[in-house]
Structure formats: C-alpha cells, structure tokens
C-alpha cells in the first residue's frame, strides 16, 4: 500500500513537470532541454527556506526555518526569477540553438550546486527538508495524506493548464509555434508571449521541484541531472506532445511500468542486469512513438 502511494506521488510530481514541459515545448514550441534547472531551483529554494540553520557539521550557509507555505511561494518565485534571467538570452534563439542554450544553463547550475557548499552542501545535499503539514496531517496516515495532496495539486494544475491552453493566450502561443511570421504579421507581440509562457512553465516546473523535495525528503545534485529533463521528454512524447492529458498519461505509464518491474522478486544478479537494461525499453518507446505515432498515445485529446 505504501509502495503504491509512493508510485502515485512520484508519478504526480513528474506529471506536473511534464505539464510544464508541455506548456513550453508542446504549446509554445520552446524546446527547453534544461527544464531540470527550474525543477532544481524550486526544490533547493524550498529546502534553504525551510531547513533549520546550519549546525556544527553542516557546510551550508543558510537555513531560515520558515513555514512550508513560505517555502512553496519562495521556491516558485525563484524558479520564475531564474527563468527571467535565462529567458532573455534563450528566447532570442530558435530550435536547436534554444535547446542547447537551455541545456547549457542547466549544466552550469548543476555544476555550481555540485561545487559550492554554501548553497546546498555540495555533493552531500540537504536532508533537513520540512515535510508539508507535518503537524496537521494525522501521523498514522501521513503518506496517504501527502500522496492525496500531490494528486489534488496535480488535478488543479491540469485544470489550470487546460484552461490556459484553451484561452486566447494559449491559441496565440500555438499560432506563434506553428507560424511565427504570420503571428507577428497580425500584430501579436511574439517576444512577450514567448516570455510569459516561459515564465509560467518555469513556475510550474519549480512547483514540481518542491513536490519532488517533499517526496525524496532530500535534495542533492545527483538527483537533478539531465536525466530528469529526458524523462519529462519521454513521458511527454509517449503521452502526446501538445496534450495536457497526454502529459499525465505518459508520466503515469512511465513510472507505473518502471516501478512495477522493480517489485518483481529477483536474484541480485538478475536485479542488477534488469536495472542496467531499464533505459532500453524507454529509449525504444521514444524512437518508435516518434516514428509511428508522433501524436502520442493521448494525442487525440490535444487542444
């Protein structure tokens, strides 16, 4: 039961991140190959704001011990701020140039988190993460409540994203994605729309990062690698690029299958082999879906 709850929580976190990627890539056409950066900023900011001040053994410089609500707001705000800083150079570029610049920013951030102890204890990371509503939720069913909270957040975010995608704002973003010149020709402020979509997606990615910190109860640089970005891309492609429901379908399928395989009882050698083999089916799924079903499994529900 706890295991199922943890899979649901993890899949909800990644659904949220994939929704953010869908806003960037699927709806606005901004190929963000560094979405893990905004995810990491959200998680780290939440940790720094809510953790206790450093004790003798800790190397980090700052711990504010603020309530988790402040941590959530701060984490989202920092992700948006980082998006504003990186968006200025990134959004002037298109297609693979945009992909490379966002990717480069994520690698720089990763390297900084890895090498500076003052922010996040360097490679060791931060492990004093304040769980949400720790005193409010009944302690015996705490996991159930947290999983429920994550699912509730996911549902609200999905409704919000769906409304956004169907609004005139979303329609304009799709118009810019499909034909930027034509959108500019009918006097749409292309640069402003792209920046707003970028900031909104980053806010959602930052929120997903905070939920991820709740889930793992620790943040460290090796949790925030390019693999997170690629996982979100795989989930989005499986579900259907451009479809909010697809983001959910893809993420739940991906983590459902991955975790279902993990519970199969195996000898140590076989488990080792299986863990090495694990990327293969996901890579194959990505290749095959892009070729034979580019609209993804839930593509018919695209906006």
């Amino acid at each position: 039961m706890t295991y199922v709850l943890s899979v649901i929580a993890l899949a909800s976190v990644f659904s949220l991140l994939t929704l953010a990627l869908n806003l960037h890539f699927g709806i606005a056409g901004l190929i963000n190959f560094g979405i893990v950066a905004y995810f990491a900023i959200g998680a780290y900011t939440y940790a720094v704001l809510t953790q206790p001040p450093p004790s003798a053994l800790d190397k980090y410089a700052l711990g504010l011990e603020l309530p988790s609500s402040v941590g959530v707001i701060g984490g989202i705000a920092m992700a948006v701020l980082f998006a504003a800083l990186t968006g200025w150079p990134c959004l002037r570029l298109r297609t693979e140039y945009l992909a490379l610049t966002t990717f480069a920013f994520a690698e720089v951030l990763h390297s900084v988190l890895l090498n500076t102890r003052e922010i996040g204890n360097g490679t060791r990371g931060l492990s004093n993460i304040l769980p949400p509503f720790y005193t409010t939720f009944p302690i015996e069913d705490y996991d159930l409540w947290v999983a429920g909270l994550m699912v509730a957040i996911l549902l609200l975010a999905t409704i919000a994203m769906q409304r956004l995608a169907r609004s005139p704002f979303g329609a304009t973003l799709r118009a810019i994605r499909d034909d930027e010149l034509a959108a500019a020709a009918i006097a749409k402020p292309v640069a402003r729309f792209r920046l707003e979509a970028f900031l909104a997606g980053a806010a959602l990615a930052g929120f997903a990062g905070i939920l991820f910190a709740w889930y793992t109860t620790l943040v460290s640089p090796d949790l925030f690698t390019a693999n997170i970005t690629f996982t979100a891309f795989i989930a989005l492609v499986i579900g259907g690029v451009g479809s909010n429901y697809g983001a959910l379908v893809g993420s739940f399928l991906l983590f459902g299958i991955q975790e279902a395989i993990r519970v199969v009882p195996l000898s140590d050698d076989a488990a080792q082999l299986l863990s090495s083999l694990r990327p293969v089916p996901f890579g194959l799924a990505l290749i095959l879906i892009l070729r034979f079903r580019p609209q993804g499994l839930a593509g018919q529900w695209a906006v």
């Binding site: 150079p89 002037r92 390297s111 996901f282 290749i287 892009l290």
Partner: protein, 290 residues
Amino acid sequence: MTTIQTLVFGLVTGCYLLVATIGFALVSRSEKFLNIAHAELISTAAFITWFLSTRQGFPLLLAAVLAILGAAVLGVLIGRVVYWPIRGSGAVVLLITSVGVVYVLHGALETVIAPGVYTLNTAGEGVIDIGGIRIGAYDLVIVAAAAASVLAVHALLTRTAMGLRLRARASDESLAAARGVDVSQVSTQVWVIAGALAGVAGVLLGLRGALTTDIAFDQILLILSVSILAGLGSLYGVVAAALTLGVAMEMSTLIIPAGYRTAIAFALVIVVLVLRPEGISGESVRARAA
C-alpha cells in the same frame, strides 16, 4: 615550464576533441540535426577495444581496428534504420529521437559490461622527453590520429566525387537530388564515415585513461561545446575550436578548481550562442535565428 607542459597537455586534449567532434559535425552539417547519440558510439567503440584487448587478448592495434569497423557498422545501421525514415520530421524530432538512441545504447552497454571503471592495458607506454617537456607515446598517437582524420576528411570532401556529392547534398538536398545525386546513398556514406570517426575517437578515449560505462555523457557535453564554438555544421571551424577548448580547459585548472571546468565551458557556450551563434567560422545564422 609547467605552463608549457600544461599547454602541451591541452593540445593533446584538443586533438582528441577534434576527432570526437568532427564526425558529429559532419552529421549535423549533412543530416541537419544534432545527433546526441554520437558520444554513445564513441564509448561503445572504446569498450569494444577494451573487451577485445584485455578480455580476449587481441593485440591492441587489431582490437582498435575492429572497434573502428564496429562503430562504422553500428553508425550506419542506426542512421539507416532509425534516422532515415523520419528525416522529414524536422531537426527537433530527430534530436529527441537521438536521445532515445542514447538510452538504448547506454542500457545495452551497461547490460553487456557491468557498470564500473575499466582501463586498457597501456602499461608498456613509453614517455618521450623533448627538451624537458614530457609526452607519452600514446599522446603522440592521439596527435597523429587527429592529423590523419582531418586530412582524410578534407581530402575526401574536396578531392573525390563522393565528397562533391556530399557537399552538394549538404548545401541543398532537393537541388542535389534534381541534379542526379543519390541522396540516400550519400546519407549512408555520411553515417559510415561519422561512425568510423566515432570509432577512432573511442580508441583514443581508451588510450587517454580510465573508461566508465557512463563516460558518454561527459563526452557529448564536450562535443557540443566544441561544435557550438566552431559554429554548428562547420567542419573547419572544429579544428580551431577543439584546440582552443582543449588548451583553455587544461590551462584553466592552473587558476580555477577543476570541478568548475564544465561550468566554465558551458558559460562560454552560452556567451557564444547569444553573441555569435554562427561560431568562430561559418556563415551567419542570424537570418534563421531572427
């Protein structure tokens, strides 16, 4: 003296980067997308060399030749089976597909060879002392291989009919096809050459030091940095960019902690992409970027 010694190390690193990047640049110039899986071919070739020479007792040279052949075959196989059918889907779809290829090759490699650290048996390597500068015999092999690769690619592109067809297709595929160039055949040739170059780079990677099963990720970061510095799709810019980055990376360790090396390489990448997306050499991409 340490400075000159570091400079020499930097040039050797640059020569390796040159071989690693030139195949990638060839693909991005003629197939028009960033093949993130290029580094997986490099690490596959490195591990074929390792497997044949240390596990099977093949002579190092024979193992190296077989690894280069293996990488060429694997390269053309992936190029034909995975990339060719979706060539019309655009650069972004091809780029994301290559991430899928990374997952497949990486998973396959770690399944065949358990995750860990491996080294080629290079104990017999001699060290040559030139006026106080020490250089390993294998470092000379790396420099020679880089020079040979560049000259071979240059001769192929400028002196042969095949090179002419390749350049024609790279500059305008439909025009080349209309003029009777078999674009499908040219694509096959590109994948063979790029795969073989990845194979050479893999062998050199093994000669340079320890191999880890996840070494490809660091390599693709370096390859991307070099090719952005050079200007995406530019072949001759790669020579200057690889040597510059190799020297800059080794020299920077004299001043800045080595851990920040990637951060600096990528900060440089961002600056180049923003200020001069066409790179050191290469035609303007402003029109496309605008």
